[in-house]
């Protein structure tokens, strides 16, 4: 896996982690508007980065595979095949 691809993947994982932590906070603070806006913002960045990644390197989730001309899901490395 090339450096650029790995960097993009790591950034995506960092955004996903932030979304999960905000998710946990919001579960106990459902009326915190500022946290919710932050969550929306992170999710937006996450989705756009994931789609961008999919365009450049292939799908990360099965539904992204629908945007390619052919079925590329099985061409991607498995998570344990990636060397960080």
């Amino acid at each position: 896996m090339y450096r650029d691809q790995l960097d993009m993947l790591k950034n995506l994982q960092a955004l996903e982690f932030t979304a999960v932590d905000l998710n946990l906070y919001l579960d106990t603070h459902p009326t915190d508007q500022r946290a919710f806006q932050d969550f929306q913002n992170i999710v937006q960045q996450m989705e756009s980065l994931r789609q961008n990644y999919a365009r450049c390197y292939g799908p990360l989730i099965p539904s992204d595979a629908a945007h390619h001309a052919t079925w590329r899901w099985t061409e991607e490395p498995w998570p344990w095949e990636i060397e960080y």
């Binding site: 950034n11 960092a14 982690f17 106990t28 500022r34 992170i42």
Partner: protein
């Protein structure tokens, strides 16, 4: 139980302060530290660390 009644010990009461969202670390830093919330960052140092003081 009997002993507890004799010395009139109270049952435990747990209290968790309500977290207020103030700031969060940027996603990369948060991922490496394990939380987005600076106020929840409490790294665990094992025994080896303890021995060294």
């Amino acid at each position: 139980m009997e002993e507890m009644m004799q010395v009139r010990l109270r049952l435990a009461q747990a209290y968790v302060p309500v977290q207020v969202y103030m700031q969060r670390w940027d996603p990369m830093k948060a991922l490496s530290l394990g939380t987005i919330f600076p106020e929840l960052y409490r790294p665990y140092y094992g025994r080896e660390h303890e021995r060294r003081g």
